[in-house]
């Protein structure tokens, strides 16, 4: 076990226990591997929070500072209160989800949670002189100025976004500091967050989306706000069943108080720990991140490891102890490949949490939840897949902070593409499941999820809450992975590498859009790519090319030649330039380019030898093609495969009969 005591940082204040106040001074240090700020840091959060396991609630005090990035005064603040999605069945989240989320249900008497702002006030002093949290000497109470708003629908019962009208607008470039007291009641784990009681009666907490969190104020020219707009605007959305999050980069300093025997993991770096009266207070600091999440439980094991500059901490359920190394190995694989393919991981910590149920498979800055199963065999790699995927979000969401509400393909989809590439590169064929006869690779899983799931429905570029659940899963994860894999094969891996590096270098610690990514692709490719992005990212075009027929007409006279015609079809509305490989009976091969435009296309040959085979896209560039089986046609049927399957089936049936015969 590894504990950090007082390492690291600037002075922080602790007030807990029976009125006891204790001051501990800690020297300052950066939480990234760079000395200067990496992001714009429009926000700064300081929080002191206490977890009460008996009520599964958190009492918190927050001091949040926001800097107006606009060139005009701003008279309103907007906050997310995500936890109110679980307040009751009337929230937009619960109405949209029907109480089900990714295979888990919100049920039981203790399923509800929520967040209340008990007090909100403007701190008049400059942040450095503001006094202890919640006790600013001069303040203006704003509690009554809080109103719930519903930017996405007319559900007046939804309480996941609030607007606060300020008595005085914040001047351009100026800062405003608020002190907020809040109470967060955690729901029983559902949709990533909450608590769960384990079999041994201990409690596990995954505390996420849990505090009042500022939305993003987008200035003119940022993302889709017109550059000539008179003023910027807040971009906040209600918490939806099919959406994740969007926030500005900033700094977090959070003191967490929990029972002494609890192990705690959180975003950022632990910079202090004090134990008193059976309670433990740990302080975390995180710079240049846009969220803060933590976990706490009395029944977690802690292990540590190191990858270059990154201290990796694993908090794992005791029953999964045998899989500690698998977690670390997967995390290091992800760190290696992301470092190589995109760029440097700028933080010096990474916390892996083996959560419970619906809390697993989620990303937060420098903290991810993985999830595994007791006795998971080596040939099944869901643990590695989830760990690599969630780590990937440190880039696609964490650093390249696109708006997950509005462009989910940019985080989930790009991440799925890289996850697929890492899995299949590192683990090879059978990267997901590797048993004799069944070698399932991540690329096949992604292709199957898109190609066999109504591919004509659901564009990638769409507001997530307007998507059906099945379209969200496909258009946010699998389809982007297949689209980007096709793009990679079309442009080549070298070009794709340049695209990824450029995208990372240009947009890390910012909020890129689809438009920004396309601009980089076109820049690297040196050609307009609207023909690709319009139908497959903004649209729902489906690619299906087929060899319809091969006709060989023998020569009618001695010394004559075969007249051969191959008929190709574009069976759906998706267009993609193709290479057609024609093999002749004498073994010669000719590759023919086809622009793929026409619905029907004929290739004619006049040769001494007839056509033996026609193969569209023989190098499998176009992963988007929904039916590869019809891409290829032989003149003479091939029967070896059928014979082998017949024999396999025969033997399998014979074995089955013996077994059903009671081993007779």
């Amino acid at each position: 076990m590894h504990k950090v005591h007082g390492a690291g940082v600037r002075a922080f204040k602790i007030a807990f226990g029976l009125g006891l106040v204790c001051f501990v001074s800690i020297p300052a240090a950066a939480q990234t591997i760079h000395d200067s700020p990496l992001s714009e840091r429009r926000v700064a959060y300081e929080m002191e929070v206490t977890l009460d396991p008996s009520t599964r609630s958190i009492e918190g005090r927050q001091r949040v500072t926001w800097r107006n990035p606009d060139s005009v005064p701003v008279g309103e603040l907007q906050f997310h209160l995500y936890l109110n999605a679980f307040r009751d069945s009337t929230s937009t989240f619960m109405k949209e989800s029907g109480g089900r989320h990714r295979g888990f249900s919100a049920d039981g008497e203790e399923r509800w949670g929520g967040i209340d702002i008990n007090r909100m006030q403007i701190v008049r002093n400059t942040p450095g002189d503001a006094g202890p949290l919640g006790a600013a000497p001069e303040s203006i109470d704003l509690t009554d100025a809080i109103t719930f708003i519903h930017p996405d629908d007319d559900n007046t019962q939804d309480r996941t976004v609030v607007s606060v009208q300020l008595p005085e607008p914040v001047a351009p470039g100026a800062e405003i500091t608020l002190d907020i007291d809040f109470t967060s009641r955690m729901p029983q784990i559902f949709a990533r967050t909450g608590w769960e009681r384990k079999d041994n009666d201990s409690l596990f907490f995954m505390v996420a989306q849990w505090f009042p969190k500022l939305g993003v104020y987008e200035v003119p020219g940022q993302r889709y706000v017109p550059a000539d707009a008179p003023a910027g605007q807040w971009n906040t959305h209600q918490f939806h069943a099919n959406s994740e999050f969007y926030a500005d980069f900033g700094t977090y300093e959070v003191s967490l108080t929990a029972p002494e025997h609890y192990r705690i993991g959180a975003t950022g770096k632990q910079v202090g720990e004090v134990i008193l009266n059976g309670q433990k207070q740990v302080t975390y600091r995180a710079d240049d991140v846009h969220d803060f999440a933590w976990t706490a439980s009395g029944d977690l094991l802690e292990f540590t490891d190191q990858w270059r500059h990154v201290a990796i901490k694993l908090l794992i359920q005791p029953e999964h102890r045998a899989q500690v190394q698998r977690h670390f190995d997967a995390a290091k694989v992800a760190l290696d490949y992301y470092d190589q393919w995109l760029g440097e991981y700028p933080y010096d910590t990474l916390t892996l949490v083996d959560g419970i149920g619906g809390s697993n498979g989620m990303e937060y800055p420098t903290l991810i939840t993985c999830g595994t199963f007791y006795m998971l065999p080596e040939w099944a790699r869901p643990l590695e897949l989830v760990t690599i995927h969630e780590f990937g979000h440190q880039y696609f969401y964490g650093l390249l902070a696109s708006n997950e509400f509005e462009e989910s393909w940019m985080d989930e989809g790009m991440n799925s593409y890289i996850e697929m590439r890492i899995m299949d590169t590192h683990y090879g064929r059978g990267s997901v499941m590797d048993i004799p006869g069944i070698e399932l690779s991540d690329g096949e899983v992604q292709r199957m999820s898109y190609l066999k799931n109504n591919p004509s429905s659901g564009p990638m570029f769409a507001k997530t809450w307007e998507m059906s659940s099945s379209d969200y899963g496909k258009a946010s994860y699998a389809k982007p992975a297949v689209v980007l894999a096709t793009l990679e094969r079309y442009l080549g891996w070298d070009a794709m590498q340049r695209i990824l590096h450029t995208y990372y270098e240009r947009w890390r610690f910012k909020h890129p859009t689809t438009r920004d990514f396309i601009a980089i692709v076109e820049e690297v490719a040196g050609q307009p790519m609207t023909w690709f992005f319009d139908p497959y990212v903004y649209g729902t075009a489906v690619v299906d090319y087929a060899v319809d027929a091969i006709v060989n007409t023998p020569p009618t006279e001695d010394g004559g030649r075969y007249q051969s015609v191959a008929t190709l079809l574009r069976k759906d509305n998706g267009v993609f330039p193709q290479v057609v490989r024609v093999r002749f009976a004498d073994g010669s091969v000719e590759d023919v380019a086809w622009d793929g435009q026409g619905a029907k296309h004929e290739l004619s040959f006049n040769r001494d030898t007839p056509i033996a085979e026609v193969f569209i896209d023989p190098d499998h560039i176009v992963w988007l093609d929904v039916d590869r089986l019809n891409n290829r046609r032989l003149v003479e049927p091939e029967t070896t495969y059928a014979r082998r399957q017949q024999f396999n089936a025969t033997v399998w049936l014979q074995q089955l009969f013996y077994l059903f015969g009671g081993l007779f």
Binding site: E319, Y374, G437, I438, R628, L629, F657, L659, F660, L663
Partner: protein, 299 residues
């Protein structure tokens, strides 16, 4: 006195060696039953994807997407073929019972034709006996499912779930079914060798293995031998021969093993007949009064 188990095994092996016709009969019925379904599969695959050109690739490079695309085409026909298992499996199980009494009779009497005489003479009572044991199998299966579910409720969490459903339940089910199989085998022996009536044979089968521990040892020996031989063809198939000749060679190797498996069936039955008769001869008072052909008859 020599070890009854090893003596019986030797006797069973001798039976299998001396009665190749019985071995071939067991093998042929098994093979033909399987071919009834696998022949249509061949034609389906040739018709649907024979011209696709992906046959070679799939031999060498398993691609679940191509498989899925092929299944879209042949799925409905494949379902129709698979549905035939609904009548074929019960029929095969009935054949197992019928052949069981025939084998015991033939191995006791010698020669091949007694097999069919045994079938004609004892099949109805053999089937009745099997039905009684089928009811008991269902009962045992139900008890195991209910008991393991209750255990899972008490031992919740993934550790409990794993051990309950992946270890305890399958172990109990396999053990229960194997025990019933053991009882049924000795009931069948009582039926044919001692000419007992069905209920009497049922009772004999249920107690005989408990009174004679060598019966259980003998059963376990053949159980694991049979299982091991049955598993090897799967390993050969998994090697994935890619040429037409390789496919045939692999299949012939697999069939060779399944022929050995059929010989095990005969040897297994022969060794049980030998053990049963050996014990019976040592205790002639156990002969059931009024049985039509009472008395040991060693082939």
């Amino acid at each position: 006195m020599s070890n009854p188990v090893s003596t019986s095994i030797r006797a069973g092996l001798d039976d299998a060696r001396r009665r190749p016709t019985l071995v071939l009969l067991v093998y042929a019925v098994n093979l033909v039953s399987a071919l009834l379904l696998s022949f249509p599969l061949y034609q389906l695959l040739v018709d649907s994807i024979g011209q696709s050109g992906f046959g070679d690739q799939k031999l060498l490079d398993f691609d679940i997407l191509l498989w899925q695309e092929a299944l879209v085409q042949i799925g409905p026909s494949l379902d129709a073929v698979a549905l035939q298992l609904l009548w074929l499996i019960p029929l095969y199980m009935a054949w197992r019972v019928v052949a069981g009494v025939g084998l015991v009779y033939a191995l006791q009497q010698g020669g091949t034709w007694p097999f069919w005489r045994g079938v004609g003479r004892y099949a109805p009572r053999g089937i009745l006996l099997a039905l009684i044991w089928l009811l008991i199998r269902i009962l045992i299966g139900s008890v195991v499912v209910v008991a393991s579910s209750a255990l899972a409720a008490a031992w919740s969490g993934e550790v409990g779930t794993f051990w309950t459903f992946f270890v305890i339940r399958p172990t109990l089910l396999i053990t229960g079914m194997a025990m019933v199989d053991l009882f049924e085998r000795y009931g069948r022996l009582a039926l044919v060798v001692r000419h007992e009536r069905t209920l009497s044979a049922f009772a004999t089968g249920a107690v005989w293995p408990f009174r004679h521990g060598s019966a259980s040892v003998l059963y376990l020996f053949w159980f694991f031998v049979a299982l091991a031989i049955l598993a090897v063809p799967t390993l050969i198939g998994a090697q994935g021969a890619s040429s037409a000749a390789g496919v045939w060679v692999a299949f012939l190797l697999q069939q060779g093993l399944l022929l050995v498996r059929a010989a095990v069936t005969v040897a297994w039955a022969g060794s049980e007949v030998a053990l049963f008769e050996r014990v019976w001869m040592a205790a002639p008072s156990a002969v059931v009064a009024g049985a039509p052909e009472a008395g040991p008859a060693i082939a």
